[in-house]
Structures are given as structure tokens and as C-alpha cells.
């Protein structure tokens, strides 16, 4: 119920929370007034530094503060920076060479276009969105069983690559299933709100966890689109004064009317042989397990009273009627599941085998939303207790925000397809006539004072390390005001007027001279603006967890190019999976899936891959709008000793020996450029050469040239600069 509390805090301020009076004076807060395009500051003395309006706003403030901008970063830094920012991968040596030797005046702009057109761009920026979508590959809670929802992840990648207008991107994720003639893609998009946890513990109340997932959907909606969930991220049951409480439940009502089905479709790329092999292996394994447990199960069975048999499900009863040595394999499994104790490992394997046997596994499935034909009524939950209904409420939005309009009538009249209109009619909630699609359109409306600001701010944050509003998840009265309010509004209006094009926004920001500045520290700024809030230089940013992996993979030459598909299992240290409540297997992929980008690593919420967790990947339990950047010895241990990173170092050593000509110096330069894009400075080269010579002496020539180069590769992959966007 965070959203509501946030709204209230934001709207009326903490002091009057307990007041029963309706919130007023709300209009005064900057974020609740729609952005208006401000005039550009005139900066005659800085004309050469103003590439686009961003620079005018930034320089105007800098001038007030008595600061001067930094020079443009050198071309090596620039191409690595913009490649990492737009695609999440460093440039190849050939790309670097081409750019630094390109004397055309629009060389940089052409580079940006190439990167925006790369399919890698969609991967990079999908991951940005997946953080707020709390995407993961498992159900969470303590059982944390795997799930398939990667089609949603792939939908986001594709949406970024085709530059789906952001308002449409919002609508399809919140209510794609309700659009007239909704396509499969639009239904897949609704996976956004299926990224909630699912509780599979025994003895739970299904309704309670359904309600919890609705609460999470509201909180996530607030964080992702309105910037209004603040730090009370997980307050699970503070209740509110009557009016506010009612407004909360009116929002709740939009999300209270869904079924949560799986969408299944044929899989064109299916490997039938692999599935057959999996079936055979599972059959063997389970049969062995059943044989081992036979005596125990027989004992259990003999102890069953008639009443106990009666209470079993029908398939179990059927199976028990059959003499134990005459039972089919399926019947033996069913009996074991009923009598074998809570054997989660067996259960997981059995479920998988059944899927393979009955053909479900031969389909791709993904989790989607579907509006119920019979709407649920929504009531205020007295004291937050879902079992105690108070007043009935209809769907609606807080009075303090822009008005919501039913768009159903328009849709019907505009659509030539009568059936679509009727389908919508059925899903209209009673009384208010508003449904989830109306809500989605309300969020994505240009009248929404928050959406465009919140999104441009989070994009900005990605490029500079912090937002124009530093409290990116709190645009309410408790948050910090924007450092550059006119710039924020200018960007927000520009974003909307450019048809909500994220690619235009990227182009604008990375094109600015503000973005292109050097990130080197300056003694004058250290005293005048230590936190660099005026952006008189760029910021050095440690790469996100997935990118730490990607950069090493790319340098090693091992990276598998495939985009999308089921999540994969790169190696991870022993002792990660073994201690969750349910022991889950992590069998490292041996083939090309071993070398996929970090964003495709299978993400178990309860036991995330340690190389991701240690570099601050979000836990996916709730929406994450900003990653922390820690810097610990555990990260060093990972890069030094982790099996995967050691393998990358071996790959890099092999690659250097394979690709570069014979002299040490040429090879060192090649290796250096694979990791850092720039050529080494003489003293850097000397350090590496000294190490190489020592390694030759220590390891002996016979143990191989390769050993020395492995050491060099490990050094380069561990450098601060390698995992930093300069």
C-alpha cells in the first residue's frame, strides 16, 4: 500500500496525514503541474559548446555557479563510452580505428546512429526497463520454482529496438490484452505485471497472495510510471484515513479483475531430440528414485486408513486400487507424490517430465494478464485485512492527479469491428465504467504531469549516474527538487512531442556536449562542486553487473551473439543453490549458451547468480529504479577467481595469440585494446611487458607461452577501467 501512502505524503505532506480533510493545496507542488516547454537560455559566450538545448540549460547554471565545462573526451574514450551506453558492449578494435580516423564533421553522429540501429541497443535498454519490471525467471518466496516469462523480456528488447513509442509501450504492458484485436505480442507485453512473486508453499491462502500481488502491481506502477513509491517500498499494511484509503482501493480495483493465465504458442525452434533425451534421462532418474523409495512407500500405503484413502485426489485413488507391482510409471509417480513426504525435488522433476510427456514442454509459454468476464467487486479492506470487506469501491484515480476518461466509447465507435467493442464491454467494471485499459491510457496520457518527467529523468540517470531529480523514485513533496528544473521540463516536453521516442531522447542526450565531456576530476571542481551536481564534467561509472560480464566476454571473443530465448545457465560456484528451501539444480551449460550476455543468465530470486548479485544487480522482489554501485573485495574475488571469469581470461589469451602478430609489444597492445579500446600509454606497456618477462622466467618457456598470456589477460580483465564507463 505504499503507493497510497506515497500519494498522500506527496500530496498533502506528512503533517496532515491523519487529517480527514480532503487534500488541498496539492497544485502547488512542482511535479503535479504539467511540464511546459521553457525558453532556452541565451548563452552567447558559449555558442561553440552548445550542440543542443541540453547544453544551454547546463551551461547557464554552470555560469551562475562560476564553473566552466570540461573539454570533450578523447575519441577512444568517447566511442567506448557511447558504445557501452547504447549497446552495453565495448567497440571492436576495427570500430575504434574507423571512428578515430573518421574526419567527417558528423562522424560522431553517424556512430550514434549505427549504435542505435544495432540490435544490441535493445538488449542494453531492455535491461534498464527490466529493473523496474522486477523481471526474474523464478516464482520467488521460499519455493522459488522456475518460471517461463522470457517472451516478455524478449518483447521489451524488441520494443526498444523498434523504438515503440513510449506511451504505447506503457499501454501494451498495462493492458495490451484489452486492446481491440490484441495481437499475441500485445498480450505478451502484459507479462510486465506477471513479474510478481508466486507463493507455492503448502497451506497458504491463495486469495491472500493474489491480493499481495495486486499490492505489488500498484507499487510497481507507482515506481515505474509515476515516480511515487519512495522509500516505504515494502510497508505492507499501513492503513490510511478513510478518504485516502478509499482512493487507494479505487486504484486497486483496476488491478483486481484479472485472471493470470499462461499464453502458449508453438515453438518454431524446438529441439525435439533434446526433449526426447531429457525425457529419457528424467524417466531413468525418477524410476531409480521410486525403486529406492518403494519399501517406504509400501509401508506408508499399508498404514493408510480407508478415510485417508478417501481424502486423496482421484488419480491417487485410482492408482491405489491397482496392485503396486502392476501400476504404470505415471501411477507410481502419483502415489509417490501423495505419500512420499514433501519431496520438492522429485515434484519439480515429475512436473517437468509430465510436461515433456504431454507435449506442454513442446510449446513456449509465457505469463500474461487476462481480464475476467465476471468482474470482481473491490472493497476497502478493513484494517488492510483482505478477509474483511468494508465499503465497496469503483475503479478511479486520486482526485489530485489529472482526470481519467473512459475511452471505451471512442474505441468502439472508431473500431469497425463490432466484436472488439463487445469484448470490451464485458470487461468493463461495474459502476464507474472504467477499466484497466482506461487506466493504462490515463498513465500514458500527455496530461500526466509525471510520466514523461519520470522517464526522461531515469534515462538521464543512466547516462550521468544520477537523475536531474536525484530521488528518482520520489517526485512527491518528500523528494529532492530537480537540480535543473527547466531542463527536466524541456526534455519531458520534447520527449512527448517527439512521439515518445526513446531513441530520439538517447540521440539528444548522447549528442550533447554535456554528455561528451571528459570525466577526469578537476581540482577546481573538487572544492566548488564535489558531487558534480552541475555536470561540469562527466562521471566515471562502474558498469552494471551484466555488463561487467559482457565486457569480459566480448574481449575474450567468446560472446555468443544470439538475442533472446530461454534464460541460460553459465557456470556458478558450488554452494549457491544447495541451501535454498528447495534444492535446485544448476547444471552449467556446455555449449554456446555458456557465453551469453549477462542479461540472459537464469535469475532465481532466492539464489541469484553470485556474479550478478555481487555487482549490485537488483533482487527482482520489487521494482528497482536505481542500482547502487558498491565497490567491495567480493567483487575483486569474483573477477580474479570465479570460474567464468577465469575462462574468459583463457579465451582472451588464446585470442591474442591467435589474432595478433608475433612481437610481445604488438600482442600486448592488441590485448589492451580488446579490453580498454584505447592504446596503452608507454608506462602501461612497460608494466605489462615487465610482468610478461617475469612470467616467462617463473613459469618456464615450456609450460607455454599461453601461461604468460593468461596472466596478462587476467590483469587486463581485472582493471578498474575495464569495468568502468569513463
Amino acid at each position: 500500500m505504499c503507493l497510497l501512502r506515497t500519494l498522500i505524503l506527496a500530496l498533502v505532506g506528512a503533517a496532515s496525514i491523519h487529517s480527514a480533510a480532503p487534500p488541498d493545496g496539492v497544485g502547488g507542488h512542482w511535479a503535479f503541474k504539467g511540464p511546459v516547454r521553457p525558453a532556452l537560455p541565451t548563452m552567447p559566450h558559449h555558442a561553440s559548446q552548445i550542440v543542443n538545448p541540453i547544453d544551454a540549460f547546463i551551461l547557464a547554471r554552470m555560469q551562475q555557479e562560476g564553473l566552466l565545462p570540461s573539454p570533450e573526451a578523447d575519441h577512444y574514450t568517447l566511442i567506448r563510452r557511447v558504445s557501452l551506453d547504447l549497446t552495453g558492449l565495448p567497440p571492436s578494435i576495427a570500430e575504434v580505428e574507423a571512428f578515430v580516423n573518421d574526419s567527417r564533421p558528423d562522424a560522431y553522429a553517424l556512430l550514434v546512429e549505427r549504435l542505435l540501429d544495432s540490435p544490441r541497443h535493445g538488449e542494453r535498454w531492455a535491461r534498464w526497463w527490466l529493473d523496474v519490471a522486477r523481471y526474474a525467471d523464478s516464482n520467488g518466496y521460499s519455493i522459488d520454482a522456475p518460471r517461463a516469462i522470457w517472451l516478455y523480456r524478449d518483447w521489451v528488447i524488441h520494443a526498444m529496438n523498434r523504438d515503440l513509442p513510449f506511451d504505447q509501450f506503457v499501454i501494451e504492458q498495462l493492458a495490451g490484452d484489452m486492446l481491440p484485436n490484441a495481437t499475441a505480442e500485445q498480450k505478451i507485453a502484459t507479462g510486465f505485471h506477471r513479474n510478481t512473486q508466486i507463493n507455492q508453499e503448502g497451506g497458504i491462502d491463495g486469495e491472500q497472495f493474489r491480493v499481495e500481488s495486486v499490492v505489488d502491481r500498484l507499487a510497481t506502477t507507482g515506481t515505474a510510471f509515476l515516480g511515487l513509491t519512495i522509500a516505504c517500498a515494502q510497508c505492507h499494511d499501513h492503513k490510511f484515513d478513510p478518504i485516502a484509503q478509499k482512493e487507494y482501493y479505487r486504484l486497486f480495483a483496476f488491478f483486481n479483475n484479472q485472471d493470470e493465465p499462461r499464453l502458449e504458442m508453438a515453438n518454431p525452434k524446438l529441439d525435439h531430440a533434446a526433449l526426447d533425451a531429457e525425457r529419457d534421462a528424467l524417466t531413468l532418474e525418477l524410476k531409480e528414485h521410486l525403486n529406492d523409495a518403494a519399501a517406504r512407500i509400501e509401508k506408508e500405503e499399508n498404514g493408510l486408513t480407508p478415510g485417508a484413502i478417501e481424502r486423496q485426489s482421484r488419480p491417487v485413488k485410482e492408482a491405489l486400487k491397482v496392485q503396486s507391482d502392476k501400476r504404470t510409471f505415471k501411477q507410481r509417480r502419483v502415489v509417490y507424490l501423495a505419500l512420499g513426504g514433501n519431496d520438492q525435488e522429485f515434484k519439480a522433476k515429475e512436473e517437468r517430465l509430465s510436461e515433456v510427456e504431454n507435449g506442454t514442454a513442446r510449446l513456449i509459454s509465457t505469463l500474461v494478464m487476462e481480464e475476467r468476464k465476471e468482474p470482481r467487486e473491490t472493497h476497502v479492506h478493513i484494517k488492510g485485512d483482505f478477509t474483511r470487506n468494508g465499503d465497496k469501491v469503483t475503479p478511479g484515480v486520486p482526485a489530485a492527479l489529472h482526470p481519467i476518461r473512459p475511452t471505451r466509447a471512442e474505441t468502439t465507435s472508431q473500431s469497425p469491428d463490432e466484436k472488439a467493442g463487445q469484448a470490451l464491454d464485458r470487461s468493463v467494471s461495474p459502476d464507474s465504467g472504467l477499466n484497466r485499459l482506461d487506466f493504462a491510457r490515463w498513465i500514458a496520457s500527455p496530461e500526466n504531469p509525471l510520466l514523461a518527467r519520470v522517464i526522461v529523468n531515469r534515462v538521464w540517470q543512466q547516462y550521468f549516474g544520477k537523475g536531474i531529480v536525484q530521488t528518482e523514485n520520489d517526485f512527491g513533496t518528500q523528494g529532492l527538487p530537480p537540480s535543473h528544473p527547466e531542463l527536466l521540463d524541456w526534455l519531458a516536453v520534447e520527449f512527448m512531442e517527439n512521439g515518445w521516442s526513446l531513441k530520439d531522447l538517447h540521440r539528444l542526450i548522447v549528442g550533447s556536449s554535456t554528455y561528451r565531456q571528459s570525466s577526469a576530476a578537476r581540482p577546481d571542481l573538487a572544492s566548488k562542486d564535489p558531487s558534480n551536481s552541475q555536470l561540469a564534467r562527466q562521471n566515471r561509472l562502474r558498469l552494471d553487473a551484466e555488463l561487467v560480464r559482457d565486457v569480459a566476454l566480448r574481449a575474450s571473443g567468446l560472446l555468443t551473439d544470439a538475442i533472446g530465448g530461454p534464460s541460460v545457465h553459465p557456470p556458478q560456484p558450488d554452494g549457491v543453490m544447495s541451501l535454498g528451501q528447495v534444492k535446485r539444480e544448476w547444471k552449467a551449460d556446455a555449449t554456446e549458451n555458456r557465453y551469453r550476455r549477462g542479461m540472459y543468465t537464469f535469475f532465481f530470486r532466492a539464489t541469484p547468480h553470485p556474479a550478478l548479485a555481487v555487482f549490485d544487480a537488483p533482487d527482482s522482489f520489487s521494482a528497482c529504479s536505481r542500482r547502487l554501485r558498491s565497490n567491495t573485495p567480493l567483487q575483486s574475488l569474483t573477477l580474479l577467481n570465479d570460474e567464468a571469469f577465469f575462462e574468459f581470461a583463457q579465451g582472451l589469451a588464446d585470442r591474442v595469440l591467435r589474432e595478433a602478430p608475433g612481437t610481445d609489444s604488438d600482442r600486448l597492445k592488441h590485448a589492451f585494446r580488446l579490453c580498454l579500446s584505447r592504446p596503452p600509454q608507454p608506462d602501461e606497456l612497460t608494466s605489462l611487458q615487465t610482468l610478461l618477462d617475469t612470467e616467462r622466467e617463473e613459469l618456464g618457456m615450456n609450460s607455454g607461452n599461453k601461461g604468460c598470456w593468461l596472466t596478462i589477460a587476467r590483469v587486463l580483465l581485472n582493471l578498474d577501467e575495464t569495468i568502468t564507463r569513463e
Partner: protein, 483 residues
């Protein structure tokens, strides 16, 4: 250059380094970090190895801290704050006189208004006659070593911000945690382990995650290092098979040299932390396996804690905490969830509270006893408490529970110059508000720093033009807590 040289900063590198370096403080800190020669003379901590031990402002009573953080807000009314009157009035609405003029949001709807008497049985223990309920049979045996503060008060009533407040003195992101302040203030005695270590147990980590042990605006060197709560506490401690220690050292020396050059070129203090992280990682490869290997602990010790070798638990974290402070680690924080007894499934007072109490009771008490037996309790401050307490009014859901309460809750302290056996503050007869000696979080922070020899008003860091403190602009020492 000799790659295995024990003094990693060669003269030549040093000259080159200062020659190229245009940036003052960070680089000087680094020079010192890389030097074996620790100079304690310079008064400004930034001029030294950031984690070198430093003299505090006053003569310290405590050297180390072990902070057992009970995530979710334990119910003081079921554990320590015995209120027969509350039981007597069970089921009645809370009298208006108790709540009049009090600030609490959402009173009408969010808190139940009916009082809930505790169903636990309470007894007095030790010389000080401290009331402890049947849920803590072991903690009840150390009441004479501990000082109980019955009247803790905080500002924020939701988990994540309240945890931040308890850890950083502010509900906003971006402030340093207490462990970061302490290691910033007095460094750490541990050469080969981080100065601030975080241990976790229970079904999940604390809400808010790593911001609870973050360094905020302090250099990242001071942030807490979280050991894993499941499986191996620290992964990747072993070098790859073909890499022996000498080769690892040579590799690290070159990584350090190149990082150093980059530091000089960019002036980014984050690289200082990166270099320190690599040095620490190398040291941990030798020190940490020994640290986490409990095979040297006697059966009697394991039994005292209720810990089992190879099985992560709160109890084994308590034992690990003792091993960490023995090795000079300055600040150890243990998190255990879930104490959020609202009454819903997994969170009721009837079954779930006793379960979480069983998980922590023995280990918490054992730690005090073990530290005492080893002579470590005198200079180790043990802290036990959550982010807030729970209301005298009940919440009825599936079963019974209580809501979050910020006006009065119990924490206890032991060793490190605290007053053994003290009972500080008193709540009204329903346990709603302090009737004597309210101890706000800022006061608790001020007192903890004082025990470490740090003046809370003098431990400051200038950020964005202002001197920040753990205690903001508040904080008074709690005299009764200090021996």
C-alpha cells in the same frame, strides 16, 4: 621491479606517482594505503590508509561492536516490557488519555484500537530483576551482563525507512551507516579482513538491502562487506587451480600499478577503493578460509551457541561474529528476519514469534557469555534490537499480531563500557509511551559513539557544503547506559 616485493609501492613508482598526480587527498591516502609504514601522527584520517586504526577523541571503552539487528521490529511486549495492566485491559479500547496529543499517523484505521495483553509468561531474572518472557530462556540468563533500554524511540514507522533511520540516523538514502561512520572514525585493527562485515540469516535479507550498510557520502572503502546468508559465506576464495599464490601476487601487483596510473590520470577516488578492494581480496584468500572454518571450535563452544559446522544459521553467525572481532574487525552487524508480527500467515504472535525467538535466543546469549569468558566483552559492545517495536493494541488477522510502534521499544546492550544490569527508562502501564527517560535513536547513536571514544558532535564529514554527522543536529548521551 620485483613482483613479490612485500612493500608494493616502489620508490620509483612513488616518485612517478606524485610527479603525475595533480589531485591532493585521495592520492595521499592511497600512498599511505600502499605503504607498510602506517603513520598515525597525521590527525586527518583522510591522509592515511583509510582503514588504519586511529585514535578516537576520548579514551575508548569499547573497541569493537557486534550489532544483532532484529529485522522487522520485535515485540517488546512479548519479550521484555512486562505489562500486567495491559493484560487486565485486554480487548478494551485504548484510553484516550494515552493517545491524546501524540503524533501517530493513521491512528483510526491502521492501528487497532483494542488493547492486546501479552499471553507470554514473564519472570524476573538476575540481580537486576529484569523481566524476561518465556520466549527467551537463554537471554534471561545474561540480564546481569546486559543493560536494557526500555524506552527507545524512533521517527519512522515503515520497515525500510525505519531500518535506514536506525542505521544511518536518517530515513533518506545517501547517508552513511553507523558501521561506515565508525570505520571512518577509528579505522579497523584487522589487516586482512574488512573493517565492517555484515552477516545475514533467516528467510531473507533486510528490507532496503545494502543501503543499510552503505557508506553514503563517505568514501566507499567504509561500506560494509556482506557475507552470504546461504551456502558458503564468501565465494571464490580459492585461486584458479593453476594459479599459485606467487603468481596471484604478481598479477595483483600489476593490476595495482595500472589502476594507480589510472587514478593519477582521472583523479577518481573510487579507484582508491578498487585498489584497496584488491589488496583486501588477496589477504582474504588466506585469512577468510581460516575465519569461516569452525573446525577449531570445541564441541562445547558449538553447543553453547547451538551452531552446527557447515550449516548457516543465526547461531553460527554469532560465533562467526566473535571470530571476526577476535581478528580485529571493528564492526560486525548480524541481520535476522522476520520479526514482523502482524498476525498474518508466517507473522503471528502465537507460533511464528516463538519460532524466530528460538532461532536467536541461544546464539545471542551465547555470544555474551562466550565474549565474557574470553575476556572480550570488556571492549566489545554488543547491541540487540530492531528498527522499531510493536503496539500495545492488537491486530487481528488470521491470528493475532501487533502493528509497528515507534514511541517505545526495547533494545539491550552488553559489554563495551555499558552499565551491566542497568534497566534504563520506563514505559507507561500499557507500554505505549515512555514515562521516564525517553531514549531516541539519535541518543543511542551518540552513546554508542561515545563508548568508542568518539564525540558524536565531532565525528563529521563535509559534504555539499555542510558538516554531516551520524546524529544530525541532535543526540544526547544516555548516562544510565554508560558504566
Amino acid at each position: 621491479m620485483t613482483p613479490q616485493n612485500s612493500n608494493p609501492l616502489q620508490d620509483q613508482t612513488r616518485r612517478q606517482f606524485f610527479g603525475r598526480c595533480g589531485m591532493g587527498l585521495g592520492s595521499i591516502a592511497l600512498a599511505s594505503l600502499l605503504s607498510e609504514n602506517r603513520l598515525n601522527a597525521a590527525p586527518d584520517p583522510r591522509f592515511q590508509n583509510p582503514l588504519a586504526p586511529r585514535q578516537p577523541h576520548l579514551a575508548p571503552k569499547a573497541k569493537n561492536i557486534i550489532y544483532m539487528f532484529m529485522a522487522g521490529g520485535p515485540s517488546q511486549l512479548e519479550l521484555f516490557d512486562y505489562k500486567p495492566k495491559l493484560a487486565e485491559l485486554n480487548g478494551q479500547p485504548i484510553p484516550q488519555s494515552f493517545i491524546e496529543g501524540k503524533r501517530f499517523a493513521f491512528m483510526d484505521s491502521s492501528h487497532g484500537i483494542k488493547l492486546l495483553g501479552s499471553r507470554r509468561s514473564f519472570k524476573q531474572h538476575g540481580q537486576n530483576g529484569m523481566w524476561v518472557s518465556d520466549l527467551f530462556p537463554n537471554i534471561a540468563t545474561v540480564t546481569d551482563d546486559a543493560a536494557f533500554v526500555m524506552t527507545c524511540a524512533t521517527n519512522l514507522f515503515n520497515h525500510a525507512p525505519a531500518k535506514l533511520f536506525m542505521n544511518t540516523g536518517s530515513g533518506l538514502f545517501g547517508r552513511p551507516s553507523m558501521g561506515a561512520w565508525v570505520t571512518y572514525g577509528i579505522g579497523s585493527e584487522a589487516n586482512d579482513l574488512p573493517g565492517f562485515v555484515v552477516l545475514q540469516s533467516g528467510p531473507r535479507g533486510p528490507r532496503g538491502g545494502s543501503v543499510n550498510w552503505g557508506s553514503g557520502f563517505l568514501p566507499t572503502t567504509f561500506q560494509g562487506v556482506p557475507f552470504r546468508g546461504t551456502g558458503e559465506p564468501i565465494l571464490n576464495l580459492t585461486s584458479p587451480e593453476t594459479i599459485d599464490a606467487a603468481r596471484q601476487r604478481r598479477t595483483l601487483d600489476t593490476i595495482r600499478d595500472l589502476n594507480l596510473k589510472r587514478l593519477v590520470d582521472t583523479g577518481d577516488p573510487e579507484i582508491t577503493t578498487r585498489i584497496a578492494s584488491y589488496e583486501m581480496a588477496f589477504k582474504m584468500q588466506s585469512s577468510a578460509p581460516e575465519l569461516i572454518d569452525l573446525s577449531g571450535e570445541s564441541e562445547a563452544t558449538l553447543k553453547l551457541y547451538g551452531a552446527e559446522r557447515g550449516k548457516p544459521s543465526y547461531a553460527s553467525n554469532c560465533l562467526l561474529a566473535r571470530r571476526l572481532v577476535e581478528r580485529g574487525v571493528r564492526f560486525v552487524q548480524l541481520y535476522h528476519a522476520n520479526w514482523d508480527s502482524h498476525g498474518g500467515p508466517g507473522e503471528n504472535l502465537e507460533d511464528d514469534l516463538p519460532k524466530v525467538c528460538r532461532e536467536v535466543d541461544q546464539g545471542s546469549a551465547a555470544l555474551v557469555k562466550d565474549l565474557k569468558a574470553r575476556g572480550l566483552l570488556d571492549d566489545t559492545l554488543v547491541i540487540w534490537g530492531g528498527e522499531f517495536g510493536r503496539t500495545p493494541m492488537g491486530e487481528n488477522r488470521e491470528k493475532t499480531g501487533r502493528n509497528h510502534h515507534i514511541d517505545a521499544f526495547t533494545m539491550w546492550f552488553a559489554g563495551g563500557g555499558t552499565n551491566p544490569g542497568a534497566i534504563i527508562g520506563q514505559t507507561d502501564e500499557l507500554g505505549f509511551s515512555p514515562s521516564k527517560d525517553r531514549c531516541h535513536v539519535h541518543d543511542i547513536h551518540a552513546t554508542i559513539l561515545h563508548l568508542l571514544g568518539l564525540e558524536h558532535t565531532a565525528l563529521t564529514f563535509r559534504f555539499q557544503g555542510r558538516d554531516f554527522r551520524l546524529t544530525d543536529v541532535e543526540g544526547n548521551l544516555i548516562p544510565g547506559l554508560i558504566a
